[in-house]
């Protein structure tokens, strides 16, 4: 095991324009927001995004012009409603959106884990979702039934925000786990941003809580409050006020201003945290 800790801008430099980037978390839960900011700040272009359920992560990258394709089963702000820039960009065909289901994403990723060339299944046959995905059908060599061949999905890099890890990348993800283990196992490289880096000894007392081991992780970045305004249980909950503010500014066609003010005019995510420190304080849970 080697020390994998680097600064966020160093980690971001490893990502090439045009690569497929998988984003961990789910909708407004545990999104790697500090890394999303860094992707925008460093001017990445033509990224392909893959995420199970996206929200402000996807919406910001679209507004910043960083991505030209998105694969997801859902993009929206949950109880708050539509993701404004996502909706506009897809309706205007500015970006390509491959609407997946949970299954089509999980099957494609899972194929890597079991060294399957694809996943043959009957699921989704008959739906328009499958037609849009344009996946091949074929006859089972065993039963002659009609099956869909769900192809392998291998993202170039996965970005996952976690609560705690050690310098080798042994991670303890808490709360809604979504498909983050699957993303880490099936992506070529894995960058972890973490609320806190702890000594390995701290993990040896509760090894069963280490759900993402170092063997799947390439890079570690310490980033406290790195998921704001999405949640990071048990440290802070999602900031629905900030998200409403974001949506409001977008409705007036001013996401540009939001991005300038909160990301590109600032040197780092610390600058953002300082700017929204009252917001952050509001959603931070006091230690028990």
């Amino acid at each position: 095991m080697q020390n994998k800790v680097v600064k966020i801008n160093e980690a971001c430099q490893t990502i090439q324009n045009g690569e497929t980037v998988a984003i961990g978390g789910l909708t407004i839960h545990r999104k790697p927001m500090s890394f999303i900011h860094e992707l925008i700040r460093s001017g990445k272009k033509e990224l392909h995004l893959l995420t199970l359920g996206g929200s402000i992560d996807v919406d910001l990258l679209i507004a910043a012009g960083s991505i030209d394709r998105i694969d997801a089963a859902y993009v929206g702000l949950e109880i708050l409603g539509f993701a404004p820039n996502f909706r506009k960009a897809v309706e205007g065909r500015v970006i390509e959106f491959n609407e997946h289901t949970e299954y089509s994403i999980m099957a494609g990723l899972e194929a890597n884990l079991i060294e399957a060339e694809f996943i043959p299944s009957k699921l989704l046959i008959g739906t328009d979702i499958l037609k849009s995905l344009n996946y091949k059908t074929f006859r089972s060599p065993i039963t002659d039934d009609l099956l869909v061949a769900y192809p392998r999905i291998c993202p170039d890099v996965a970005i996952i925000h976690v609560q705690r890890c050690d310098e080798y990348g042994n991670c303890q993800i808490n709360g809604i786990n979504a498909i983050d283990l699957l993303l880490a196992k099936s992506s070529r490289r894995v960058i972890v941003t973490t609320e806190k880096i702890l000594p390995t000894e701290d993990f040896m007392s509760v090894p069963s809580s280490t759900n993402l081991p170092s063997t799947f992780v390439d890079t570690v970045v310490e980033s406290p409050f790195g998921a704001h305004p999405t949640s990071c249980f048990p440290h802070y909950t999602y900031d629905l006020w900030h998200l409403l503010h974001y949506m409001e500014s977008s409705k007036k066609g001013k996401t540009e201003n939001y991005i300038k003010q909160h990301i590109t005019d600032l040197d780092s995510f610390e600058g953002y945290l300082n700017l929204v420190k009252d917001d952050v304080k509001r959603v931070t849970v006091r230690e028990p």
Binding site: L26, T27, H29, L52, G53, A72, A73, Y74, V75, G76, E78, I79, L80, F82, A83, F86, R87, V90, E91, G92, R93, F97, E99, T101, E102, Y103, S104, M106, E110, K122, L123, L124, I125, G126, T127, D128, I129, L146, N174, G175, I176, N177, A178, I179, D180, L181, L182, S231, F233, P234, T237, Y238, L240, W241, L244, R282, V283, T284, V285, R286
Partner: protein
Amino acid sequence: MRNFTSDEIMITCMSREIRNGDIAIQGLTTPMAIISYYLAKATHAPQTTIMQLAGNILTYAKAPPQISLLFNEFEAMRRAVHIGTQTEVYEVIFKRLESIVEFFRPAQIDMFGNTNNSWIGSDISKLRLPGGFGISDVAALYPRTFYYCPRHEKRVFVENVDHIGGLGFRTKGEFDQRRDIHIISELGVFEIEHESRRMRLSSIHPGIKIENIKENTSFEILTAEKTQQTSPPTELELQLIREKIDPLNIRRLEYLSGKTRENALLNILDKELSLTI
């Protein structure tokens, strides 16, 4: 005058579909669904297993927990006996198809029970919706598929959905195995009849007229000669919903839109914040 609201009779109807011992799955942004699970577990179905987005098994001993807007995940984790992954939720579904209950909210549902959460209109340019998440995966897999529609309107109950996500019975084909589709709306309870593959009224809610349904549906709904009436919520059910499970009236958000909705939302958030952090 009814002594209950639309959301309350809907939640009661949803709750009553849950059989003791079922596994109830919670999806994205469906407060009425989770309220109905808590209600069932607190009344006729105490052995219900509730699985949430955390992939966790939520458990509670006596009184049902109060649902939260701001601390949804925190509340779920507090009562978790197991923390899983979304992959594991699917593993449970595939293994326990017969026991799964899950309530989906479609943007459109048609006379054949097909549903759509992808886009409205002839193509993607008009109204791109957030997406169906997992609805299409399991709609055709469950022996019993449930939809709930807080707003029974013509633009929701359409003749043919614009894009088939959740598979109903539009086409008579090899994928149409015997399975039940139930729809609970603010006006009544409906199902897809097996022979005609068409939507039929099962029971009408108290205080609702058959004309209300006709006026708000884009296609002809089949009816029995004598229409059955939905049993109203009991005192206990109403009390549990109002006082124990959802005193903040989060369920009402499923009916509101625009500025009214945003204000209701901020109001709930402020109340929760003052109580908890």
